[in-house]
């Protein structure tokens, strides 16, 4: 067990090292210099540019820049080019803002996708199966921003509630009930929107997995034992069909930032995605780099957790991580 832990951890750290290099390289090697943040600004003299370059170590060789960058990041002294705030603090604040969207969205996704997929697989070719199939394709193919605007129009016109932003501006002094209600209204639409494609994709995947497992010999054995249908499907088949989804646990985390860029921009939601977007607009390298790095760390953490879970759930996995059949 300890060996599994240790080996996995070392592997993850090596991966992290390469991630740090790649994210640094991508940003630094791209043409364009942060000192050209605003080249048209007449107040920006040559001296100003030099001063900026010095302040951000841009005059040093790349490997020193790399070293200094991560040193500063970990000691929390890395500052944003734009407002001189510490990067980690900025990311953390925005992370907290993104969290409700992410949690509600993930809960929605997982709690809807599984029942839909399983039901469709068991009743293959039924009306239910056909209609979920159709809607899945529809939602997989809908661009999120297109759907978002349609939904905004719909919500504003039908319910007449404001949905942009994290809460309604200028109403902070209203009663507690109003505030809670307001927050919920604001959270619902963006999280539903970020969940919808996920539900569609995941339910298709669950359905496919379930269909494959139902064809297995051991399901036929369970039937030959005279077990009721429910036990055959929901005990014998489902346990096996669910195994692969444990590994998906880690991979949903990139959605926390990548998938939310567009939705957070539309809804003016001050989360991680929007932070990234703003940073890109401002060529705020420390923030962009920091975000990429933090996101990758979160993914690694997620995969680590799912490796552990997988080991617990599948008796065939030995602690060496090899699967025997």
């Amino acid at each position: 067990m300890a060996s599994f832990f240790g080996r996995n951890l070392v592997e993850k750290l090596i991966t992290l090292f390469f991630i740090s290099i790649i994210s640094f390289g991508v940003v630094m090697l791209a043409p364009g210099d942060p000192s050209e943040v605003d080249p048209m600004n007449p107040k920006f003299t040559k001296e100003d540019v030099e001063r900026l370059r010095k302040a951000f170590d841009l005059d040093k060789p790349l490997y020193t820049q790399y070293y200094l960058f991560y040193k500063k990041l970990f000691t929390n002294t890395l500052k944003s080019y734009k407002d001189n705030q510490p990067v980690l603090k900025k990311i953390y604040e925005r992370f907290l803002n993104s969290l409700p969207l992410f949690i509600v969205g993930t809960l929605l996704t997982w709690s809807l996708a599984f029942p839909l997929g399983i039901h469709a697989a068991i009743h293959r070719q039924s009306f239910f199966d056909r209609s979920t199939t159709f809607f899945s394709y529809l939602f997989i193919s809908l661009p999120s921003f297109f759907l978002a605007y349609i939904m905004i129009i719909f919500m504003v016109k039908v319910f007449n509630v404001p949905v942009i932003g994290i809460q309604t501006f200028g109403r902070e002094s209203a009663g507690l009930w109003y505030l809670i209600n307001d927050r919920i209204w604001h959270v619902v639409l963006p999280s539903v929107l970020s969940a919808i494609a996920g539900i569609a994709i995941l339910s298709r995947y669950v359905r496919g997995q379930m269909l494959e497992v139902i064809e297995q010999d051991y399901v036929r054995t369970a039937q030959a034992k005279g077990l009721p249908k429910d036990i055959v499907y929901y005990k014998h088949a489902l346990r096996n069909a669910l195994l692969p989804f444990i590994t998906m646990f880690g991979l949903i985390i990139p959605g926390l930032i990548g998938g939310s860029v567009i939705i957070e921009s539309i809804f003016a939601w001050p989360g991680m995605g929007r932070l990234g977007y703003e940073a890109i607009l401002a060529r705020d390298y420390p923030v962009i780099l920091g975000l990429n790095f933090v996101a990758a760390c979160l993914v690694l953490l997620g995969t680590f957790v799912s490796d552990l879970l997988y080991m617990v759930a599948d008796p065939r996995i030995s602690i060496y991580g090899e699967r025997k059949d």
């Binding site: 043409p31 997989i140 297109f146 605007y149 930032i257 990234g276 977007y277 996101a295 993914v299």
Partner: protein, 322 residues
């Protein structure tokens, strides 16, 4: 039945084992026909190709029949089917037949012409970026699956690393840092979306590697390169084709997302994403801008997805036997 009509016993048994010969394409069509959704996907796809190719012919060149970049300040935000202003506009500035079939935008540009041009852009982005990612994916996946050992470890580590990045954000970062150009977008999408393909090409190769026909090819003294690319790749092609089709759909979506955020195809070229981004400002005054481009993206992506899934079913030997 006369004696003549009966084949001698030996002949009969020789042929009874062989079902009537059916070409691969016939067989494939046979399977596809039973999947209604995939059939719709195919119809939409053919339509999309016709539109995209026609769009290229009509909107490109020096004096195109329909000029997507023609600014007409007298005819801004005209609804669909409205007539062009004949008094002010010179004949060569007027739209085809003098009608704005899908309306105009805030600069009075013909939305139909712009949508047609957008089709061409989507097609280009979809196919070139997927071409790049499939090429990288096949080569790396094949090497990893065939050689195993260290080659495999290194390549799979690279895949793991790539999968750790939030892909859309990574693409957005790189695209934003590079000079705005449609070629950059295609290359960046291509360079960031190969890990998935590499992963399953590797899995296919691992399975194929154990098949006796690969061992037989080795025993016959064929070169490794020949074995990999002439024996193994064709057998992995079916799933690659499926994932490429679905990859085209997602590349089109990614491009439209980038355009929507303002980092896509640079103006004055039109793409469905930036028509939609322009349209969001006039969502109540000129909803057609928004709806036309959004629907175009939806239908195209839907077509690729449906057809891709249909391909998956039609090419899947497991489903075939049922």
């Amino acid at each position: 039945m006369t004696e003549k009509n009966i084949k001698p016993p030996g002949r009969y048994s020789d042929e009874s084992g062989l079902p009537p010969q059916m070409s691969r394409i016939q067989d494939f069509w046979h399977q596809l026909r039973e999947n209604t959704l995939a059939l719709w996907g195919l119809i939409l796809l053919i339509l999309f190709f016709i539109i995209a190719i026609a769009g290229t012919k009509l909107t490109l060149g020096k004096n195109p029949i329909m000029d997507p970049e023609q600014v007409r300040l007298v005819d801004t935000l005209k609804p669909p089917l409205s007539k062009a202003n004949r008094q002010v506009l010179a004949p060569e500035d007027r739209p085809l037949f003098g009608i704005y079939l899908l309306g105009t935008d805030k600069l009075g540009r013909d939305v139909l012409a712009r949508t047609l041009q957008g089709a061409h852009v989507s097609l280009l982005v979809g196919f070139i970026s997927v071409g790049i990612s499939v090429l990288i994916g096949i080569i790396l996946g094949a090497l990893a699956g065939y050689y195993g050992g260290y080659v495999d470890s290194v390549i799979m580590r690279a895949v793991d690393i790539m999968l750790c990045f939030p892909s859309f954000f990574l693409i957005l970062t790189i695209v934003a840092l590079l000079p705005a150009s449609i070629w950059n977008i295609m290359v960046v999408i291509g360079l960031t979306s190969w890990p998935g393909i590499a992963r399953f090409v590797r899995a296919e190769f691992l399975a194929l590697r154990k098949q006796d026909f690969v061992v037989a090819a080795e025993a016959l003294g064929l070169s490794k390169c020949k074995i990999m690319f002439e024996h193994m790749v064709p057998n992995a092609l079916a799933p690659i084709l499926v994932s490429a089709t679905i990859g085209v759909a997602s590349a089109i979506l990614t491009e439209s997302g980038l355009s929507f955020l303002g980092f896509g195809v640079p103006p004055p070229d039109a793409s469905w994403g930036n028509i939609l981004a322009d349209g969001k400002e006039f969502i109540f005054d000129a909803p057609w801008l928004f709806i036309v481009s959004g629907t175009a993206i939806l239908l195209t992506v839907l077509a690729f997805n449906l057809f891709g899934e249909g391909l998956r079913d039609a090419l899947n030997p497991k489903l075939r036997e049922q």
